[in-house]
């Protein structure tokens, strides 16, 4: 396959970036999208040019590191996968592919296609945990039975990989899906109830401080989420926040 690429190149956070065109010959349909970029980079290195930097690590769809906007969609055209699971067979000979970094004020570009997502870490640090000591608890794991449905719903919320596709897809660059997934995971478990009110208040406050946009319920995040995190989580967070506000 012959593929035409338009890739965002930016030297560092302070430089101005722009789109650069590349042409790739001999792309095989069995290649993963990132392997196609590996080949491009090998060619660039051979020419003495700087390769395109992009974030990636596990390459099996679980670490949440890879983060490319491909033809205007986070993680590319296929659903329920990350970029590293996307294969070139999803494209055709002669296609032009536009590759950009996640765009959000809260995710500044570090270099080329790499963005800084530490805003997500700070949201978690504001309250995304249960305050129990890690050293030698006396409570047996089976002391508190948890309804299977609640445990499963909690798990589903907890499968968020923190990749940021929700922010990238949202026309408002809102981080509600990410934040609500964590709020929900704990809100659904008895262990998480104790701090539920503080948690949602603190996490939302941090989310706002980071400069993410507001949620307007377009649902784009849910569609593009590689793990299928549901909008129900945002509704749950809205409820939790409302009740926390009312209770003061």
């Amino acid at each position: 396959m012959k593929i035409y690429l338009k890739i965002w190149r930016q030297k560092d956070a302070n430089s101005k970036g722009g789109m650069v065109d590349y042409t790739m010959d001999g792309v095989e349909s069995d290649m993963s999208f990132l392997e196609m970029l590996d080949v491009l980079n090998e060619e660039l290195v051979a020419k003495g040019e700087e390769p395109v930097e992009f974030d990636h690590d596990c390459r099996e769809g679980i670490c949440g590191t890879c983060s490319l906007m491909i033809n205007g969609r986070p993680h590319g055209p296929d659903s329920r996968i990350t970029v590293c699971q996307l294969h070139m067979r999803s494209f055709n000979d002669g296609d032009t592919i536009v590759i950009e970094p996640w765009r959000a004020k809260a995710f500044p570009v570090i270099k080329d296609l790499i963005v800084d997502r530490t805003a997500f870490d700070r949201i978690q640090q504001a309250g995304g945990y249960i305050s129990v000591n890690t050293s030698g608890l006396p409570v047996d794991a089976n002391a508190i039975p948890i309804e299977k449905d609640a445990a499963d719903a909690s798990f589903n919320a907890a499968t968020c990989i923190g990749c940021g596709a929700c922010v990238a897809a949202c026309k408002n660059a809102s981080a509600m899906l990410f934040t609500s997934a964590k709020v929900s995971q704990f809100a659904l478990l008895p262990q998480g109830q104790v701090e539920a009110a503080d948690r949602v208040m603190n996490m939302v406050r941090q989310m706002d401080l980071e400069g993410f946009g507001n949620c307007t319920n377009t649902g784009a995040c849910e569609v593009e989420c590689p793990k299928g995190i549901s909008l129900e989580n945002i509704a749950r967070m809205n409820r939790e926040y409302l009740s926390a506000t009312i209770k003061g």
């Binding site: 033809n71 959000a104 507001n214 307007t216 377009t218 649902g219 569609v223 909008l231 509704a235 749950r236």
Partner: protein, 222 residues
């Protein structure tokens, strides 16, 4: 309270609640308007009541106006904040791949509805205020029907109204159901709520449009 407005979630609640309030107002409005097609006398009575009842005039009307203002000011604020949150825009962005047009363009449907409200205020409310408080005319419980029908005589106004109702429909199509999600309602009833809200979004603007066209086609012949 100001702290509440600083929170993105609080802004969501404000949009949702003001929106829901305006939805309720629409029900009242369309009901009275439909009377103009069925029974001009009842329409006159109802309009007169609304125009001269002090509770309506000095409590509900200001609340309504405040509701409209809050809804559109907050809408603007959100739009500006949301644009800023993106920073640099994408060279290529396929919004249509993951969200319906209506949900992504609430600001435009809202702006058209707002512009319409300007015309609508000019047509009826300003006229009313002038009639009652500037010119200080005496009460006339029979004038409303004729005044209304007359407004729809020019084709341009009727067309503008109908276009606005289409945009109102689009605005409601997303906004009505969405306000439930904003208030934290997302459960087994949600598909039903969504269907109801979408039916509402079609039926109510359609009724408004029908009334406008009806009066345009049925002028009062003296």
């Amino acid at each position: 309270m100001s702290g509440l407005i600083k929170s993105s979630l609080a802004r969501k609640y404000v949009m949702a609640l003001s929106g829901l309030f305006l939805v309720i107002f629409l029900v009242l409005h369309v009901t009275i308007n439909l009377a103009s097609v069925i029974s001009p006398d009842f329409f006159n009575e109802a309009s007169h009541f609304m125009g001269y009842n002090p509770l309506v005039q000095f409590l509900m009307q200001p609340i309504l106006i405040a509701g409209v203002i809050v809804h559109f000011v907050m809408g603007f604020v959100l739009e500006i904040q949301n644009k800023r949150a993106r920073g640099i825009s994408y060279v290529k962005f396929q919004g249509s791949a993951n969200a319906p047009w209506v949900s992504r363009n609430m600001i435009y449907s809202g702006l058209v509805v707002l512009a319409f409200l300007g015309l609508h205020f000019y047509d009826f409310w300003i006229h009313e205020m002038a009639y009652k408080y500037v010119e200080v005319n005496p009460e006339d419980p029979t004038r409303y029907y004729a005044e209304t029908v007359e407004k729809f005589a020019p084709i341009w106004r009727t067309v503008l109204y109908v276009i606005s109702f289409v945009l109102l429909s689009l605005h409601l199509w997303h906004g009505f159901a969405s306000s439930f999600q904003s208030m934290g309602v997302n459960n087994k009833y949600t598909p039903g709520i969504k269907k109801f809200a979408q039916a509402f979004a079609v039926v109510v603007p359609l009724a408004f449009a029908f009334i406008a066209i009806y009066h345009h086609l049925n002028p009062i012949t003296h």
